[in-house]
């Protein structure tokens, strides 16, 4: 029986099987980036199920007009928790978990730059999530949704003021994000320092895998953009508890100021979410096309550009707020411009596939799905960037459809691809390909069935964040289709979870390099030893393992 982690075997070599308590203790006190990475991903997946259930509740309520499945109070809490959880307690942890696991391995290091800070960051992040969900136990308790926040994930002022948001539900929102934000900043500092300071000899910045580059850009972005949210939340808390007037319109404060601060965080945040998705795609697509990534320097330049430009587009979330024509035009233009490097990346992935020998293993299936769906997402994004068009589409289901195409059709698909790709490395076992196909196809059907119709619901006037709608507006068909899609998505997730559990116990053993890949993590055992590498590698090109496997035709001749 293959051992999950050789550390345990090494430590308890001559003892009996370690007790559950001993194993638990090892995981709780660990500072090993690989274990922390796995805990990040596992906790992210748990909250994925929770937030997915919240979405299912909303879709059941919206399947019929004037439905009474849940009360408006419960629906609004589901709406708020779904968005908040998915962004902060599913997306960020899973992506930072992968970065945690892979960046040190890919740069040829033994661990992250600050292992204890790493552990601290993880536990802060998890504590924030628990704090948010603890809010269900306040006030009336679970029935009626307790004191879970109901102000939307973006908590616009002055709805969040004491006058309009009584009790502590909004404070749970604020504090849980403040706490987990500290965790995000810690991990970003770690990624920054690991990338700049711990690369193995020969790995110049120009020879790092694109995965490392993209997470490096993400780390820099996190350091710049989480702070505006932290600052705004401190301001909100001062308003609510000390009578400050930051967003108090009665005292001359500005509700729009909250929107500016929130979206200065919020827009780059969605790039923080999608860039690691690009990172997964940039590693998986070349390996399964059997070709080097096309245009590495341009991919790096495009990624860095996206990082920079995304800092200047935030007010495209505020086209309807009543900005001046100059303001609206500026942000429309900047938003269109950020689409250019993003498009360049899609073309480079396409060029990587072109002329290759594509193997349709499950990781590649998910990345191909990503390419098609992210194309749709990008195009609806261009539609939204045209400010006058946005005056109609903003705050409607069209926007909901757009960003779910980005985050599910784009990001989640690459996350699934990444799980199938790196699961063998982390566990020493392969996930089942047949179950993987069921997972993929069910999810493609379910996801598109849910979110494609919602574009049309938006275009015929259905606003978002409503707990019900009236018959005779034409919304019914699209909502029924959307709700039907949930069944397929749920089935897909069942296949996925079954695949994971089954493979952990009796998956086929995977060697060090089951996919015939080219980056450093595949040069060590599966799973890697705690110290990662016997001797620190020395590299000469972007694909060290390609050089080893093709000594007659190494990469460093062509880079």
């Amino acid at each position: 029986m293959a051992v999950l982690d050789p550390t345990i075997a090494a430590v308890h070599r001559d003892a009996d099987r370690p007790s559950v308590l001993a194993i638990l203790h090892d995981w709780v006190v660990t500072v090993d980036h690989k274990r922390l990475g796995l805990m990040y991903i596992a906790s992210g997946l748990v909250f994925f199920l929770v937030a997915g259930s919240e979405a299912a509740i909303m879709r059941i309520q919206l399947a019929l007009p004037n439905n009474h499945f849940v009360s408006p109070q419960v629906f609004n809490r589901m709406m708020t928790l779904h968005g908040t959880t998915m962004v902060f307690f599913v997306g960020m942890p899973i992506l930072l978990g992968f970065a945690n696991y892979l960046v040190p391995l890919m740069v040829g290091a033994r661990d992250m730059a600050f292992p204890r800070l790493n552990a601290f960051s993880f536990w802060m992040s998890l504590f924030g999530a628990c704090l948010l969900y603890f809010s269900f136990l306040g006030a009336e308790g679970l029935y009626g949704g307790g004191t879970a926040p109901d102000v939307g994930w973006f908590a616009y002022a002055p709805l969040t003021a004491r006058a309009f948001s009584r009790g502590n539900s909004t404070d749970y929102w604020t504090l849980s994000l403040l706490v987990s934000g500290i965790g995000s900043i810690g991990t970003a500092v770690n990624l920054l320092a690991t990338t700049l300071c711990l690369r193995c000899p020969g790995m110049t910045l120009g020879k790092m895998p694109l995965f490392v580059w993209l997470n490096f850009v993400v780390a820099c972005m996190i350091l710049i953009v989480i702070s505006p949210l932290t600052a705004a939340q401190i301001m909100l808390t001062l308003d609510r508890f000390l009578g400050a007037h930051f967003f108090d319109t009665q005292a001359g404060g500005s509700a729009v100021l909250w929107q500016h601060f929130f979206w200065i965080f919020g827009h780059p945040e969605v790039y923080v979410l999608i860039l690691p998705g690009f990172a997964f795609a940039s590693e998986i697509i070349p390996v399964f096309s059997r070709k080097v990534i096309f245009g590495y320097p341009f991919m790096v330049a495009a990624s860095v550009s996206i990082g920079f430009i995304s800092l200047g587009v935030w007010a495209h979330h505020m086209f309807t707020v009543g900005m001046t024509p100059a303001g609206n035009t500026f942000f429309a233009v900047s938003t269109m411009i950020v689409g250019v490097p993003t498009g360049i990346k899609v073309f480079n992935w396409l060029a990587t596939i072109w002329g290759g020998k594509i193997r349709f293993a499950t990781p590649m299936l998910f990345c191909i799905g990503f390419l098609f769906q992210f194309l749709c997402a990008g195009l609806t994004g261009i539609m939204l960037s045209v400010a006058p068009f946005d005056w109609q589409l903003s705050d409607s289901y069209f926007v909901v459809a757009h960003f779910h195409y980005v985050l599910i059709g784009g990001l989640l698909f690459t996350i699934f691809g990444a799980i199938y790709y790196w699961f063998p490395k982390a566990t020493g076992r392969r996930l089942d390909e047949t179950l993987g196909r069921w997972h993929f196809w069910l999810f493609v059907v379910g996801f598109n069935l849910t979110f494609a119709p919602l574009h049309f619901a938006g275009m015929i006037g259905m606003p978002r964040r409503i707990y019900t709608y009236q018959p005779g507006r034409g919304f019914e068909l699209w909502n029924q289709l959307a709700s039907a899609g949930v069944v397929f998505q749920a089935a897909a997730i069942v296949f996925f979870l079954w695949n994971v559990v089954r493979s952990l116990v009796r998956g086929a053993p995977a060697g060090a390099d089951p996919w015939d890949a080219w980056t450093l993590e595949w040069s060590t055992s599966s799973p890697p030893p705690p110290y990662n590498f016997e001797t620190l590698p020395v590299v000469r090109s972007r694909r060290p393992l390609w050089d080893l496997k093709h000594p007659d035709d190494p990469d460093w001749r062509y880079e």
Binding site: V292, P325, F389, G461
Partner: protein
């Protein structure tokens, strides 16, 4: 699988066309069925954007599909690696320049439409309306005409030769809302301590639906809007009726007494009586409206009775308190309110 996908896509587009056109029982509020100048401007810009994005979708989508099919690993593959292509500066340049050119075109279209809509001048014949957003209803005031109503906006149709658009000033009494009637104009947010303006210029008569489009709390979903566009004469007649003080019908005397001695007058105005409250909707001509409770209930005596007896039952979370009236008082009150034509 690909054929099935294409068929599904066509089916959806077909259904979309039907849904957008509407059938007999559906009153559409599609953004692609504009009847007013600002909404027209949006559709014009939108058509160009849709054409461009459709073109990009076809080109890139086809290349992706072709690439994924054509470059599959052959079943009899010898396991050798294909030629490794590291990049091409010319290609990178091409697919940087072409998108930039597309962006330039889109920028020009966007700027033109933005300045056209936001910079519109107000002709002398324009009607002025102030809309005040509340949780969860719309206060509608015609300052120059001395009219106050709720949730239903009446405007004259605009003749291009003699333009009579309606200019709206948007204010909020509490939190952020958004005024959205898709067939008439794009939405504009309604934000406290900030005065936004927008305009509509309907060229067709009829009833057009909309609703609040900025999450504003529990009953955001029931902040519906009804815009009635009238021929000029009809609009003037409506104005004249609305300007009159409340009808004093003897059949409602008992109910009027209940109204004026209960807390009703703290929140509601009935012009010509002692009721001058501003917190809730103006009830002077309540019966002239087609719906109750910002669209959450029909305008019938039964619905009115249910609402007053227990607002939370009709619109959970509504800020109107249950007035704890006995059955007789309730009947009398409703009998009074139905006289407020």
């Amino acid at each position: 699988m690909r054929g099935a996908g294409a068929a599904a896509l066509l089916a959806i587009i077909g259904a979309a066309a039907v849904a957008i056109a509407g059938d007999d029982t559906t009153r559409t509020s599609s953004i692609f069925a504009p009847v007013s100048a600002p909404a027209d401007a949006v559709v014009t810009a939108a058509m160009l954007v849709l054409a461009i994005t459709a073109g990009i979708f076809v080109v890139v989508g086809s290349l992706l599909t072709y690439g994924v099919v054509r470059f599959r690993q052959p079943p009899d593959d010898d396991g050798s690696e294909p030629p490794q292509v590291y990049g091409s500066e010319q290609i990178e340049l091409a697919w940087t320049v072409i998108p930039i050119l597309i962006v330039v075109v889109l920028c020009l279209v966007t700027a033109r439409t933005v300045y056209d809509v936001q910079g519109a001048t107000r002709p002398p014949g324009a009607v002025d309306v102030t809309v005040v957003g509340h949780q969860w209803w719309w206060e509608i005031r015609y300052p120059a005409l001395g009219i106050v109503t709720a949730n239903e906006l009446h405007v004259p149709v605009s003749d291009p030769a003699n333009r009579t658009p309606t200019f709206l000033a948007l204010e909020s009494a509490d939190v952020a809302h958004s005024f959205w009637v898709p067939r008439l104009a794009g939405k504009t947010d309604v934000i406290p301590n900030r005065r936004n303006t927008m305009w509509i210029e309907p060229r067709e008569t009829g009833l057009f639906l909309g609703q609040c489009a900025e999450y504003c709390g529990t009953q955001h979903a029931h902040m519906l809007l009804r815009v009635y566009v009238h021929p000029r004469a009809e609009f003037d007649a409506w104005v004249a009726r609305q300007r009159e003080p409340a009808v004093a019908d003897a059949s409602g005397a008992a109910g009027r007494h209940v109204f004026e001695t209960t807390a009703c007058i703290n929140c509601h105005t009935v012009r010509g009586t002692v009721a001058t409250g501003r917190f809730g909707p103006d009830l002077t001509h309540l019966m002239s409206r087609d719906t109750l409770v910002a669209g959450a209930a029909p305008m019938t005596p039964e619905a009115l009775r249910d609402w007053i007896a227990n607002p939370d039952h009709v619109k959970p979370g509504a800020l109107m308190p249950a007035m704890q009236l006995g059955a007789t008082e309730l009947d009398q009150l409703v009998a009074y309110l139905v006289t407020l034509r």
